[in-house]
């Protein structure tokens, strides 16, 4: 018997609550996607879960920089994000992109802040007539 198709937003809200409660939801999400044949939507599910977490005060931010960030820089960024979004918990997913030259690019579920030198150079190049 076919089950009713679950709303992605509702699933994300449920999984966000589970994550905040400290439970691992990876297997549940994988099972759901395989069972409902929605594996192609995994990226959308992740994004929705992150948005649901952000709505609950847990902010996951992707941070890209040209070199490894020091702990005090991470603290600065975390404080900034808390202040800017009102989140109570901020978790950073950091990765290094040497082509960024300098600065940092921060991506949250609903915002993007790019202060890298690469971005500024791209803006300069884009100002060509």
């Amino acid at each position: 018997m076919a089950q009713a198709r679950l709303s992605r937003r509702k699933v994300a809200a449920y999984l966000a609550d589970e994550l905040i409660a400290g439970r691992d939801v990876t297997q549940q999400l994988a099972a759901l996607l395989v069972e409902t044949k929605r594996t192609r939507e995994v990226t959308l599910f992740v994004r929705d879960i992150e948005a649901a977490l952000a709505a609950r005060g847990v902010l996951l931010a992707n941070v890209a920089s040209s070199r490894e960030l020091t702990s005090d820089v991470e603290g600065t960024i975390g404080s900034f994000l808390k202040k800017a979004t009102g989140a109570t918990d901020v978790q950073l997913r950091q990765h290094v992109e040497p082509s960024l030259l300098g600065g940092v690019r921060i991506e949250t579920p609903d915002q993007r802040l790019d202060t890298t030198l690469r971005h500024r150079l791209n803006q300069l190049t884009a100002s060509k007539l």
Binding site: R67, T70, V73, A84, L101, G103, T115, L121, L124, T125
Partner: protein
Amino acid sequence: MTHPLQQFAADSSGDIFTSLGINGQMLLFQMVAFLILVFVLGKWVFPILMKAVDDRQDAINAGAKAAEEAEKKAAEAQEEVAKLLKEARTEAKDIVATAKDEATAMIADSESKAKTRADKIVKDAHEQLEKDVIAARKALHNDTIEMVALATEKVVGKTVNDSVDKKIIADAVKEQA
């Protein structure tokens, strides 16, 4: 010697006609002959002569009249020719004046057209020049930006270290806060 007057006085003692050597009969005969001659001439010769003279006179008069008429006609013809010449000259003057006016108008029109075309050529040249200058400025601007970007990238890639990067991030966060 006897004087001629004395001789005449000696001979005048007889008839006077005789004294004068005139024959009366002969005189009469000559008078009759003369009258006959006058009559004949008056009857047949003089009329012919007079007629010839009159005809000649008429011919002369006719010739004179014809000559006079011819002269009159010649004068009239000359006047007509003069009139025609005057009219022709006037018409020629008008034609020349009209031709001059038309030529002047054509020259003025040509000058106006040439000036308009020259102005348009100059204007187009200016516009094209301005476009070229703008295009050159754009190309220079773009090339400069490209070079600045490349140079900045090269310089920044070598000069940014951990401390500089940290300061850049801190400044950016501070600016956004």
